[in-house]
């Protein structure tokens, strides 16, 4: 990574931290404490399942909300406040700016997820009194959640490069929701014929396949995640994010900053 991308990324991270984005960790910590105590009292033999399900779902929701609501302002806010002028008049290429913003927010989310993961494991230890071998699956689910974040940050950044924050939020959130049903869409496309099939298949593959990145239920039941899926999801998320970022750069490279 070039020095300039690193500086822009660390400034984006610092901005998020100083804008108190990481305060969500307090809410998450309270949620996990409450859940662990409550589950310990009312659940019989399913404490682990409830804690893993609740913890990972909360991490995913908190992260997606942060990814969308910060991501949509990454470019448009800089244009609106004109902070971009003093950056792009320096030897900073426009693609470096987009890349720096992407890595900065992705870094923020990874740090956020790291602290939340500690909370989940602490709650697991509280309810189970020991770790099991199948708990390693929680790490895989967390990794997939981070891959989801990369895709959502790239999408939010893409919309932010040409649209208003409100529209960007709507587009990014809509794609995330549709993406959670991506497997169903692909199944539906397979049932159609002719031109419809082409259209439906195209649309199904265009939306991010968020559903493939969701293994929360599987790991909560202690089922292993296939190594092949880890490889496939890694490749898919990186490629999808890179393509969306490339689109964002392409648009931003030609944009007049009035």
């Amino acid at each position: 990574m070039s020095g300039r991308i690193l500086h822009i990324a660390s400034n984006t991270f610092r901005e998020a931290v100083r804008d108190r984005v990481l305060y969500n960790l307090i809410v998450f910590a309270l949620l996990m404490c409450g859940a662990a105590i409550l589950v310990g009292q009312i659940s019989i033999d399913i404490e682990r399942l409830v804690v893993v399900n609740l913890g990972l779902t909360a991490i995913s929701i908190f992260g997606i909300v942060i990814a969308i609501f910060i991501g949509i302002g990454l470019v448009s806010k800089e244009i609106e406040k004109r902070t971009l002028y003093t950056v792009l008049s320096r030897p900073v290429r426009r693609w470096e700016f987009i890349a720096g913003k992407f890595f900065g927010l992705a870094g923020t989310l990874i740090v956020n997820t790291f602290f939340m993961a500690i909370g989940v494991f602490a709650a697991l230890l509280y309810v189970s009194h020991h770790f099991q071998a199948s708990d390693a699956g929680v790490l895989v689910a967390l990794y997939f959640i981070i891959l989801q974040f990369l895709i959502i940050v790239a999408l939010a950044l893409f919309f932010s490069s040409f649209s208003s924050p409100l529209l960007s939020a709507i587009f990014a959130f809509a794609l995330f929701i549709i993406g959670t049903f991506a497997e169903d869409l692909r199944g539906f496309a397979a049932l159609t014929h002719g031109a419809e099939r082409w259209l439906a298949t195209g649309a199904a593959y265009l939306v991010p396949n968020i559903s493939a990145l969701n293994v929360i239920s599987q790991v909560a039941h202690g089922e292993p995640v296939a190594g092949q899926l880890i490889l496939y999801n890694t490749g898919y998320a990186l490629l999808y994010s890179a393509m969306v970022l490339f689109g964002a750069i392409l648009i931003f490279e030609h944009r007049n900053l009035k």
């Binding site: 500086h7 610092r14 100083r18 004109r82 003093t86 320096r90 030609h254 009035k258």
Partner: protein, 313 residues
């Protein structure tokens, strides 16, 4: 080599929501600014000054024409490392302190961390912000932000500095300090290109000025050459409340205060005015030639009715 060469640079924006119409923000503009010059870019709102600066900075793409700064085209990173830019009414990352912001900008301009650590305190001293070095920018006044803006534009020791309305929002002391700073930069051999509404500043600082109006270049030249191009006026003051009838025919502006009258008449009518006063037996107290200011010249080029027309592009 010229510091800045602008050749036929122009900009047309599409306006309107449904049926887009082209709006010309800048007609083909050609200018050459030599190294070491302080060049003033003058014009009323909507004249195209900020559009020109944004095109030179690579923020807005020209519809036509080219420009070279230090012999390199717009957007060339090697050139961008050697220029500084202060936008109009700058706004910075307000979660940062001036020290952090300048370090960040210094690093983006190619300074190493060590260089930035050495230069940032010097620059904060230079713009009078040493005591506020660790205060978040969200707590800064407009004048303090302007100082931060100037600091970031010269931190990396650029050869050419572009300042868009650098005196905007400053109190008289602040303006004076910025003027001193611009003069210091000139003594350091830098080229300064600045746009302003404040004509007295341009007159005091600039080697040459360009007057832009409604997207069109009206005049370029040294301030003295431009102001001497239009005829001067003289001020006559005499004792008595009488204004000779001949003065109205001379196109004089007369103001009576108590038992004295002050009249401004064209320099060419000086003899006729003196003769009229003698005929009436009025006692002349003083006769003072008035120098044509840049403001007079500017107003003569930009008619008042037109000066208020149009907004920012």
């Amino acid at each position: 080599m010229s510091a800045i060469e602008i050749l036929g640079l122009e900009k047309t924006y599409p306006v309107g929501f449904w049926r887009k119409r082209p709006k010309r923000a800048l007609k083909p503009l050609s200018l050459t600014i030599e190294e070491g010059e302080i060049f003033g870019f003058l014009g009323p709102n909507g004249a195209g000054k900020t559009t020109t600066l944004k095109m030179l900075m690579g923020l807005v793409f020209p519809s036509g024409g080219t420009a070279r700064i230090l012999g390199r085209p717009i957007g060339d990173p090697a050139m961008q490392a050697q220029i500084g830019f202060l936008p109009e009414q700058p706004y910075f990352y307000d979660h940062l302190t001036p020290r952090e912001l300048l370090t960040y900008y210094g690093q983006l301009s190619g300074l190493t961390t060590k260089e930035a650590e050495r230069k940032v305190p010097e620059m904060l001293d230079r713009v009078g912000l040493r005591d506020a070095a660790n205060v978040q920018l969200r707590k800064f006044s407009k004048g303090m932000l302007q100082r931060v803006g100037i600091a970031q534009s010269i931190l990396h020791n650029p050869k050419v500095v572009f300042l868009d309305e650098p005196m905007s929002g400053l109190d008289p002391m602040g303006r004076h300090e910025v003027r001193d700073l611009i003069e210091q930069l000139k003594h350091e051999g830098k080229t300064i290109f600045f746009s302003t509404h404040i004509l007295s500043d341009a007159e005091a600082l600039c080697d040459r000025v360009a007057i832009l109006h409604l997207g069109e270049l009206r005049k370029v030249g040294a301030v003295a050459d431009l102001t001497s191009a239009i005829g001067g006026r003289i001020e006559l003051v005499w004792r008595g409340a009488t204004i000779p009838q001949a003065f109205s025919a001379l196109g004089a502006e007369c103001h009576a205060t108590g038992d004295t009258v002050r009249a401004l008449v064209p320099e060419s009518s000086q003899e006729a005015a003196m003769e009229a006063l003698r005929r009436e037996g009025l006692r002349l107290i003083s006769l003072t030639p008035l120098r044509t200011s840049l403001e007079d010249y500017f107003v003569s080029q930009v008619k008042p009715s037109e000066a208020t027309a149009g907004g920012k592009p």
